[in-house]
């Protein structure tokens, strides 16, 4: 089976390639290719899943892998490969299944977009990269796919690139995650230089296998930290970026500028979970020190984002912050040692969060591109199917007991946190997060689906940000119809292509939970390879039951208070000010402004980088160029001195000598005038003088 694993990413890649080269307006072909390829991938993934079930041995999880050389360097070669183990199989099935549904949904959602084919091309490319990431048996291959999902995320967030906000959000997402990616990159280099390989499993020689791990654990770097701690934390840096953990979470809410199916697929179900997946993949490297950091970052993120979600009014942004918060839960789970709980929550979350996003898309679609929950209300009458599925998703996310998957997976996380020996902090934060999650989801559902429809008139009071989505191009076709009726048009239910995926996901959001209950922890035994059978008694063990009761209480409190504050708020056509806002206006403002993290970054990091750029430019213009100028001036000065010497000393002196010679020559020449009588006179005078001299001074000699 592992030999065919490459088909899983290859099929969507092929579809993307064909869509890229075919002519633009072939919409049906593009959608058909993308959905078909994804469906086929899903079948292959299911086959792989079945294969991994069969190979399920008693001793540890079954694992098959296939490595090959990519290129040769020096006397070694850089190898890539893919691996089939329970983690891969689960992720592959989840991504292809949820992906297929979202693809089908997109065909309805994007039906009137002029760049429909490009959309499916990008989606397929994304699926290929994401699936490549999932099956990779090499950190390098994983990194490559990691960057490629980042690229497709960039392309799809900026899909409506003519909107400046979308273009800016795309850039922000790419650069913020790249900060994390560079940590990942350095961690990868370090791992490579120490272990000599980036393959995870390679017959005992891989970097996740015993010999390499032991080598890493005994080496220490600065401050006595084990090398594996440092490498693990650097890799975690990558996960922080990709999975929107504090402090690199700022890009994920802005990423909602992308079309809603993109938010569902990339920014809820799959790509953002890649960070959690990465941590799960390299779990053997992570030391207790590293895990402690991960647990705290996750716990803080879970509460931090949930607090922000309480005060948001954009339906997609609430879900985005909820995603950040839930990813925090998964990280926390891994950090406190609940490996299985983290992965389980990843899978259940993918289903119910994709469901919620697609439900939100259906709502937005039904309300003519309205995203502000204050201008919705009463939608359960107009969109019954959406309402029902959304309610299931909401209860799964909130963790309503027993019947919803979110309850079981979140409960496992809380259980793992409660028995973490290091600290009880994450457990308490997790409970607070559970309360907040139930609260903000109740608020959202109450404002959207209960009360009266408030979409006819402008909002009671405008939000801090201008209306998003007011300039959609996809309105172009449908706009004519909608615009004429604007102010009268009532919300409407979405087409079947959008509703059916919701129903299927809703079923998943309920049923999946039963794979991982404490009574029958199939998920646990599959992922770890330890067999555990159905045993109802485990449900009532004191620790398990206590945690369940506590989390149920938190959820009940959240839903109850949410309903009390917002359940009746939408009855009037004029929405009253937010109950929390009247209660605590300043706190609410801070939450609504997302703790002003963006502003803080703007004032510090971003400004510092911009100044750094200006500084480099200044260095260039004045220092380096200045040195060159000075050198040039020096050279010129030297030349001037040279010339001065030439002119003043050499030339003038030479001229003077010349002139003197010339003068004396002239004087001598004037004597030789060619007149014989003059010569004779001179000779006569000279002769006379000689005679006189001799006669007079003969005694001298």
């Amino acid at each position: 089976m592992v030999g065919l694993l490459w088909l899983i990413p290859f099929l969507p890649l092929l579809a993307a390639g064909v869509i890229a080269v075919c002519k633009r307006p072939r919409r049906r072909l593009a959608a058909g290719l993308a959905i078909g390829a994804m469906g086929l991938s899903c079948l292959v993934a299911l086959a792989a899943f079945v294969a991994s079930l069969q190979g399920h041995a008693a001793a540890g999880p079954a694992r098959e892998y296939l490595n090959f050389s990519w290129f040769e360097i020096g006397s070694t070669s850089v190898k890539l490969g893919w691996v089939l183990d329970p983690l891969t199989a689960l992720m592959a099935v989840m991504v292809t299944f949820v992906g297929s549904l979202i693809f089908i949904y997109s065909a309805g959602y994007m039906a009137s977009d002029e760049n429909f084919t490009r959309f499916f091309g990008f989606l397929s490319l994304f699926a290929a990269a994401m699936l490549g990431l999932v099956i990779a048996n090499s950190l390098l291959l994983l990194f490559i796919c990691w960057e490629l999902v980042g690229l497709t995320s960039y392309l799809l967030i900026g899909f409506w690139f003519h909107k400046p906000s979308a273009a800016a959000a795309a850039k922000k997402a790419f650069i913020t995650t790249r900060v994390g990616d560079l940590c990942f990159f350095v961690g990868m280099l370090w791992l490579y230089s120490q272990s000599g390989t980036l393959l995870f499993y390679d017959h005992g020689a891989g970097c996740l296998e015993k010999s390499a791990l032991e080598k890493l654990a005994v080496q220490t770097t600065f401050e006595g930290l084990a090398l594996s701690t440092v490498i693990g934390l650097l890799l975690f840096g990558g996960a922080v970026g990709k999975s929107g953990q504090v402090p690199l979470h700022v890009w994920l809410p802005d990423a909602m500028e992308g079309p809603t199916p993109v938010s569902a697929l990339i920014h809820a179900a799959t790509m953002v979970a890649a960070g959690v997946f990465l941590m799960a993949r390299v779990y053997p490297i992570l030391t207790p020190d590293a895990l402690t950091v991960i647990a705290w970052v996750g716990a803080i993120t879970a509460v931090f984002a949930a607090l922000i979600a309480v005060a948001q009014t954009d339906i997609k942004r609430i879900l985005a912050y909820s995603t950040v918060s839930q990813l925090g839960y998964m990280m926390m789970a891994l950090g406190v040692g609940g490996y299985v709980a983290g992965v389980f929550h990843l899978i259940t979350h993918a289903f119910f969060k994709a469901l919620l996003f697609m439900g939100a898309g259906s709502v937005i679609h039904g309300c003519h591109e309205e995203q502000d929950i204050r201008r919705m209300g009463g939608l359960r009458q107009y969109l019954p199917a959406t309402f029902l599925t959304y309610a299931i998703g909401m209860m799964a996310l909130a963790g309503v007991p027993v019947f919803f998957s979110g309850f079981w997976s979140k409960d496992e996380i809380l259980h793992a946190a409660s028995i973490w020996p290091v600290s009880h902090g994450p457990f308490l934060l997790g409970l607070v997060g559970a309360f907040l999650t139930a609260f903000y989801m109740t608020r959202q559902v109450a404002l959207v689906f209960w009360g009266k429809y408030r979409g006819h008139q402008p909002a009671a009071h405008a939000g801090p940000e201008p209306e998003p989505g007011s300039a959609h191009p996809r309105k172009k076709k449908s706009a004519a119809g909608h615009k004429a009726a604007h102010g009268h048009a009532l919300p409407h239910e979405s087409p079947p292509a959008m509703v059916w995926p919701l129903k299927i996901l809703a079923a998943g959001a309920i049923l999946l939970g039963f794979l991982g209950t404490p009574a029958w922890p199939w998920f646990h035994s599959y992922l770890t390879g330890h067999h555990l059978s159905l045993e109802l008694g485990r449900l009532f063990e004191s620790g398990t039951l206590g945690v369940m009761l506590l989390s149920t209480l938190a959820v009940a409190a959240g839903i109850g208070s949410g309903w009390k504050l917002y359940g009746r708020a939408g009855q009037t056509r004029e929405l009253p000010p937010d109950a929390l806002e009247t209660f605590q206006p300043q706190v609410f403002a801070v939450l609504r402004d997302k703790f002003r993290v963006d502003e803080i970054y703007q004032a510090t990091v971003i400004r510092a980088v911009a100044w750094g750029g200006e500084f480099c430019h200044w260095l260039d213009q004045f220092v380096w160029q200045g040195c060159v100028r000075i050198l040039a001036q020096l050279t010129l000065g030297l030349a001037w001195i040279n010339r001065a010497i030439d002119e003043l000393l050499v030339n003038r002196g030479f001229d003077r000598v010349c002139r003197r010679i010339q003068d004396s020559g002239g004087r001598v020449a004037s004597l030789q005038d060619g007149q014989v009588q003059h010569y004779l006179r001179v000779i006569g005078v000279a002769l006379a003088m000689l005679v006189l001299l001799l006669a007079w001074g003969g005694g001298l000699w």
């Binding site: 990519w70 290129f71 040769e72 360097i73 020096g74 006397s75 070694t76 390098l140 990194f143 490559i144 796919c145 960057e147 490629l148 690229l151 960039y154 900026g158 690139f161 003519h162 909107k163 400046p164 979308a166 273009a167 800016a168 795309a170 850039k171 790419f174 650069i175 790249r178 900060v179 560079l182 990159f185 350095v186 280099l189 370090w190 490579y192 230089s193 000599g196 980088v609 911009a610 750094g612 750029g613 200006e614 500084f615 480099c616 430019h617 260095l619 260039d620 220092v623 380096w624 160029q625 040195c627 060159v628």
Partner: protein, 518 residues
């Protein structure tokens, strides 16, 4: 094939003469003839690439005695490095000529000069003896000067002047240094010099030279460093390394786009080539002694150029600074490979990784950066000479293919995996991290800054609402697509299957590494 490399060098030279001797009115003929000659050279280069035997150390060697009394030989040959640079030159020149097709002002002279430049480049990349290597080195400078000076933008005269004088100063320093080497050793042959350097004889000879000339002891020990400094200066200006780079932004920005393509695509590689062929084998001890400084310069080049690129407002200048940044990675790899290590095979592999990365990066940068300049040139021409970062906006709406292909090139330039730029950078960093971790870690900042300014470029030019002024901005024509298709294909092929190039250079690199002093 016994005269293959000489023939390769003579072919564009003949082409230059042929094109230059055409009557002035036959513009189209001149262009076609020029392109024909460059394509013929490309064909020949491809043939050589095909016949190239990676296992042998030097291929297609020709060696004739030239001036026996000076022990001068005409000695040419290519190893993996030289071969790849020959291929790069042969690819970039026709690319540049096609993109310069629109030049109406004396196209005959322009095309002839470019062919002359190509001959000089082939000469540089094949010569194995300093004497004629230097002749070709200088020969390539003169056409480049005239190309900037005669066809450049409004500030072309000072730019060309600065380019010429700057490079000349470097060349003179290098020439003096090599004359000193010749006095010390009596040879100009690269291989002989490297051998002497490895055995330690070279240092002795240089010290002896100082003594013979009556240099006092204190001064005499600086002789090798001085000679090294001369060669270093000549090469550092050409690459360029910060702070020897100030000629570059002006020259690249003022030169016509076709010339900028050659300047960044190939001419800048002469410097890096020199580092690999001369500095690394001949001056290993000097490099090791100065290593922290050299690495500091490489890091400075990487970070400061990326930082400066962020502050530019002119597309050509952005690309120019990005070019400095990318060559900075090459120098990081080279300096890392100069690091003194013990003889364990582990280090040899790390050095091999770094140097393979450097050579691959040279090729990749040559392709991607020349393509970027080509795109900027296309924008500039469509916009009537404007190329400010803020002048555009939303062009992707009306020119989607243009935006898509330029986007691919930009992402190749910022090192996206799957495209060609990544592998080179990855290998450089892999080697450098093991050998000199601090420099590698500091240089990572450059990768982030590169992403910032390149994505800003894409955002400002192609995204956002359409700037109505350019609503008539045409998308790529069929001809332009055909011109760019091979480049885009190379970007993908090298990115996905780097072995196609690494296979040809790896054994040369291993040879280089084994010749390095420990």
């Amino acid at each position: 094939m016994s005269m293959a490399l000489t023939l390769l060098t003579l072919l564009p030279l003949l082409g230059a003469l042929a094109v230059a001797s055409l009557p002035a009115g036959r513009k189209e003929l001149a262009r076609r003839l020029g392109l024909g000659f460059s394509l013929a050279a490309m064909g020949l280069a491809m043939l050589l690439w095909n016949q190239f035997d990676a296992a042998a150390s030097f291929n297609f060697v020709e060696q004739y005695s030239w001036i026996p009394s000076w022990n001068l030989k005409y000695h040419v040959g290519v190893d993996g490095l030289g071969m790849l640079m020959v291929v790069l030159t042969a690819l970039v020149i026709p690319f540049s000529l096609v993109s310069s097709w629109h030049i109406e002002d004396q196209p005959k002279v322009y095309f002839a000069l470019v062919l002359g430049l190509e001959a000089g480049l082939f000469g540089v990349f094949t010569a194995l003896n300093f004497f004629h290597w230097f002749i070709f080195w200088e020969l390539s400078l003169i056409p480049a000067y005239f190309l900037i000076k005669l066809w450049g933008g409004t500030l072309r005269t000072p730019a060309a002047m600065q380019f010429f004088i700057y490079t000349m100063v470097g060349s003179v320093a290098m020439l003096l240094a090599f004359q000193a080497l010749y006095l010390a050793t009596g040879t100009f042959d690269f291989a002989t010099l490297a051998r002497l350097a490895k055995s330690g004889q070279l240092s002795q000879s240089m010290a002896a030279l100082a003594q013979n000339h009556g240099w006092k002891n204190g001064l005499g020990q600086w002789m090798p460093t001085l000679i090294f400094g001369g060669v270093f200066l000549g090469l550092a200006v050409k690459v360029p390394l910060i702070p020897f780079h100030t000629w570059l932004p002006a020259a690249y920005a003022e030169a016509p786009a076709g010339t900028s393509m050659i300047l960044t695509g190939v001419l800048s590689k002469m410097g890096v080539y020199g580092f690999l062929r001369l500095l690394l084998p001949v001056f290993p001890h000097e490099m090791q002694a100065l290593l922290p400084w050299l690495l500091g310069l490489a890091v400075l080049t990487i970070v400061a150029s990326a930082g400066a690129a962020m502050a530019q407002k002119d597309l050509k200048r952005v690309v120019a600074y990005s070019s400095i940044n990318h060559l900075g990675y090459c120098l990081l790899g080279i300096f890392a490979a100069a690091q003194a290590t013990d003889a364990r095979p582990l280090w040899a592999d790390e050095k091999a990784a770094a140097l393979n990365g450097v050579i691959l990066q040279m090729f990749n940068h040559g392709i991607s950066a020349s393509a970027l300049f080509c795109f900027v040139g296309l924008i500039e021409r469509r916009a009537g000479g404007r190329r400010g970062l803020e002048d555009f906006g939303g062009l992707r709406q009306i020119a989607p293919v243009f935006a898509g292909l330029m986007g691919i090139t930009v992402f190749s330039s910022l090192g996206l995996p799957g495209l060609n730029g990544f592998i080179g950078e990855f290998l450089i960093f892999k080697g450098a991290f093991s050998l000199v971790s601090w420099a590698a870690v500091l240089s990572v900042a450059g990768l982030l800054l590169t992403a910032i300014f390149l994505l800003t470029l894409l955002q400002k030019v192609f995204n956002g609402p359409l700037n109505e002024r350019w609503s008539g901005f045409p998308d790529l024509s069929l001809g332009e697509r055909v011109m760019l298709a091979p480049v885009i294909a190379i970007i993908f092929i090298v990115g996905i299957y780097p072995q196609c190039i690494l296979g040809a250079i790896n054994s040369s690199v291993m040879q280089m590494v084994s010749n390095l002093a420990r």
